[in-house]
């Protein structure tokens, strides 16, 4: 791929490391600028790239550099305004999730993108992780039969000492409509929607089990009904250990993808007839053992669960180079944004 596109990055928080690592390694574009409210942060990030300039004002950066692509990696509250500025400045936008805080804001952004003939791409990175792609392949091959149940489960101990629960400094996610869970909600939504043809009804139980005033909610249990399929979206700060799984149950078998410790476990009716359960268990044991070894290697090699983001970014840049539609489409973002709105809708709450 020739490096004809110019790219700028806005925001240098923790997630920027993954974007900057990708951009420095893959050379899919020419990095021309990094912007952050902190001059020190912008300069440090920009120093990784020979021709990148540091800015503390994104308007100034857009006016000066006129980049082809902008990665928007700022806190979610700022996405809508910054993305709009970037689109109006003629840049394609790759934005961290959630693209906007409401469906209405997403629609406005999309209208702006269309008006300026620019691409708007929300980061649905876990969709491109190998275990999820394996699930999609199993479904496509019909190994699981007709899918009837989907469960996306995430457990993160956000109450323990970390940046989401710093008693001295409030995290920006605390100001989001669903509090800290809002940061993770798009992952649950877009992963479930991969296996749901449509959404008929949503029921969501939002709770703050710990009573921690900084956390608006720390627990979500939601059901999404879609004709003969239903999905469960589950986020917990209290169950341990930390996990992130997608489970599909079909008429012929089930499969579970582990995204934090990559592995896909499966169980279905085999030709072994009555011995199928035993065979499934034995093969499952072998899969777990092999995944354990592979994940030990991943740990040693400092590989992160962001392999999907790198894959998505690679595909996105290829599409931008060729002028084709990016891998995350309007429909993907539209459905995700609408589902999040439904989950937060008072009418749908238990």
């Amino acid at each position: 791929m020739s490096a004809t596109l110019t790219t700028a990055v806005i925001g240098t928080g923790a997630i920027s490391q993954e974007h900057l690592d990708f951009l420095s390694r893959e050379r899919v574009s020419h990095i021309v600028g990094v912007c952050d409210l902190s001059r020190a942060s912008a300069r440090y990030a920009a120093s990784r790239f020979p021709d990148a300039r540091a800015f503390t004002n994104h308007h100034e950066m857009l006016d000066t550099l006129r980049p082809d692509v902008v990665h928007v990696l700022t806190p979610p509250q700022t996405h809508a305004a910054i993305c709009r500025d970037c689109l109006e400045a003629g840049a394609h936008v790759f934005v961290e999730k959630p693209v906007a805080l409401t469906y209405e804001d997403f629609q406005k952004l999309w209208t702006t993108a269309e008006r300026y003939d620019r691409r708007l791409i929300e980061d649905h990175n876990y969709r491109f992780n190998t275990p999820v792609q394996t699930l999609e392949q199993l479904v496509a091959e019909g190994q699981l039969g007709e899918i009837r149940e989907v469960e996306v489960r995430m457990a993160l101990a956000l109450h323990r000492g970390n940046r989401y629960n710093d008693p001295h400094l409030s995290h920006p996610s605390h100001q989001l409509p669903a509090g800290v869970i809002h940061e993770f909600l798009p992952h649950l939504a877009y992963l479930a929607l991969r296996f749901l043809p449509r959404v008929d009804r949503v029921v969501a139980a939002w709770r703050n089990e710990s009573g921690n005033p900084a956390f608006q909610y720390d627990d979500l249990d939601a059901l999404v009904f879609s004709s003969n399929i239903h999905a469960r979206l589950r986020f917990s700060c209290h169950t341990q250990p930390d996990c992130f799984t997608v489970t599909l149950r079909g008429t012929e078998g089930w499969a579970q993808a582990d995204l934090f410790h990559p592995c896909v476990q499966t169980s279905w009716t085999r030709e072994a007839g009555p011995f199928s359960p035993l065979l499934n268990q034995m093969l499952g044991g072998a899969v777990l053992l092999s995944a354990g070894v592979a994940n030990l290697r991943r740990k040693i090699l400092q590989e992160t669960p962001y392999e999907g983001m790198h894959r998505l970014l690679r595909m996105t840049y290829e599409c931008l180079h060729r002028g084709e539609e990016p891998p995350i489409t309007f429909d993907d973002m539209d459905r995700t944004s609408r589902l999040i709105d439904s989950l937060l809708d008072e009418a749908n709450r238990l």
């Binding site: 020190a40 942060s41 440090y44 120093s47 008693p167 001295h168 740990k299 090699l301």
Partner: protein, 355 residues
């Protein structure tokens, strides 16, 4: 002088507050917003006020620095991932310096670290001075070293861009009560102490001496524009210091010595293996990364001439006495007053608490 102390509740900070009070200064100690008053290491005393702020956010920092004669900047993040340490050290310093510039506060004493030196470039047995080469920001060093280097760069820019009157202090290994072990000895593994090397001098500075140096730096105009290493005269070898620590340990440790040259060879082999088998991507422990191993255990000498000439400091305790103060009960230790200063009983009480 009116002094603002950041990182005031930290290991060094609490001693700096006491030392500044002992020397008759008015101290504004910066504590984090949610810190309970019961958890503060000082008792209320004349000349000591608190300001609640978190340096990672600019909120309230202008008010915090307003009206002070100097800022003694000790705050830094020592743990967490790179991003956490960047915020707690680099962004924090940037916010502080912006507030100082806005309030026209020019005097800054920046407490940096010996970690900013490039130890790999130094020959074994050579002398490390303030002029020794520094690492670059992409060196294979830990997040603490990199962020402290960036912090120093910000302080120097503050001097250039805002006419800041800056002193950069680089303490060696600060030791004191509850903080007597140093990674320069090797690795602690339960009651097994793995000592890497034996004869390397340790750049120790007792915490009370270091605190005095920080306050003296604010007082002495000669220190402006200077970078000063802070180390005591008494620089014991690793063997001697470990023996002294072992004598005070509740359970006699098993000391496992590893020769420095062997360890250096082992680290080289580890890097070679990593490069050959894993493309250099494998995560290795710090002691197997040459740049970090050298920073910890390389046998070097340490010079403190600049500290003595610019700060005119006379360390109060030799190593033995200082170690004795580390391992006796707090109540039995009262810091003597500096000559020519009178300190009332309240300050004496405040002094007694953290020592």
């Amino acid at each position: 002088m009116k002094l603002l102390v950041t990182g005031a509740t930290g290991f060094l900070g609490r001693h700096v507050v006491v030392e500044a009070l002992r020397r008759g200064h008015h101290v504004r100690a910066m504590v984090r917003p949610d810190t309970s008053e019961d958890a503060l290491p000082w008792r209320p005393t004349a000349g000591l006020t608190f300001v609640r702020a978190d340096l990672r956010s600019p909120r309230g920092l202008r008010e915090a620095v307003r009206g002070v004669d100097a800022v003694l900047h000790l705050a830094a993040a020592k743990t967490g991932d790179f991003y956490t340490q960047f915020r707690g050290t680099v962004n924090a310093t940037e916010n502080l310096l912006n507030a100082m510039a806005d309030e026209s506060i020019r005097r800054l004493v920046q407490v940096s670290s010996f970690s900013v030196y490039d130890y790999e470039k130094l020959r074994c047995g050579s002398t490390l001075t303030e002029d020794s080469q520094l690492i670059d920001i992409y060196a294979d060093r830990d997040a603490y070293a990199i962020t402290k280097l960036l912090q120093e760069q910000l302080a120097r820019e503050f001097a250039e861009e805002h006419g800041g009157l800056v002193t950069i202090l680089r303490p060696g290994v600060i030791y004191g009560r509850g903080n007597s072990w140093t990674a320069r000895l090797g690795v602690q593994w339960g009651h097994r102490w793995i000592r890497i090397g034996a004869n390397a001098p340790l750049p120790l500075i007792y915490v009370e001496h270091c605190a005095e140096a920080v306050v003296l730096a604010a007082e002495k105009p000669a220190s402006i524009g200077q970078t000063i290493n802070l180390v005591d005269d008494d620089q014991p070898t690793q063997r001697r210091y470990m023996r002294a620590l072992a004598a005070h340990a509740p359970e006699r440790p098993t000391i496992i010595p590893i020769n420095w040259s062997c360890m250096r060879l082992l680290a080289r082999l580890a890097i070679l293996t990593n490069n050959l088998l894993f493309g250099g991507r494998a995560r290795l422990p710090g002691i197997l990364i040459p740049a970090r191993l050298h920073a910890r255990c390389k046998p070097l000498r340490y010079d403190n001439q600049r500290m003595k000439s610019l700060l005119a400091i006379q360390p109060r305790y030799d190593l033995q006495t200082a170690l004795a103060r580390c391992f006796t009960t707090p109540e039995s230790v009262v810091t003597p007053l500096a000559d020519g200063h009178t300190v009332d009983k309240e300050v004496q009480d405040a002094c007694a608490s953290p020592i």
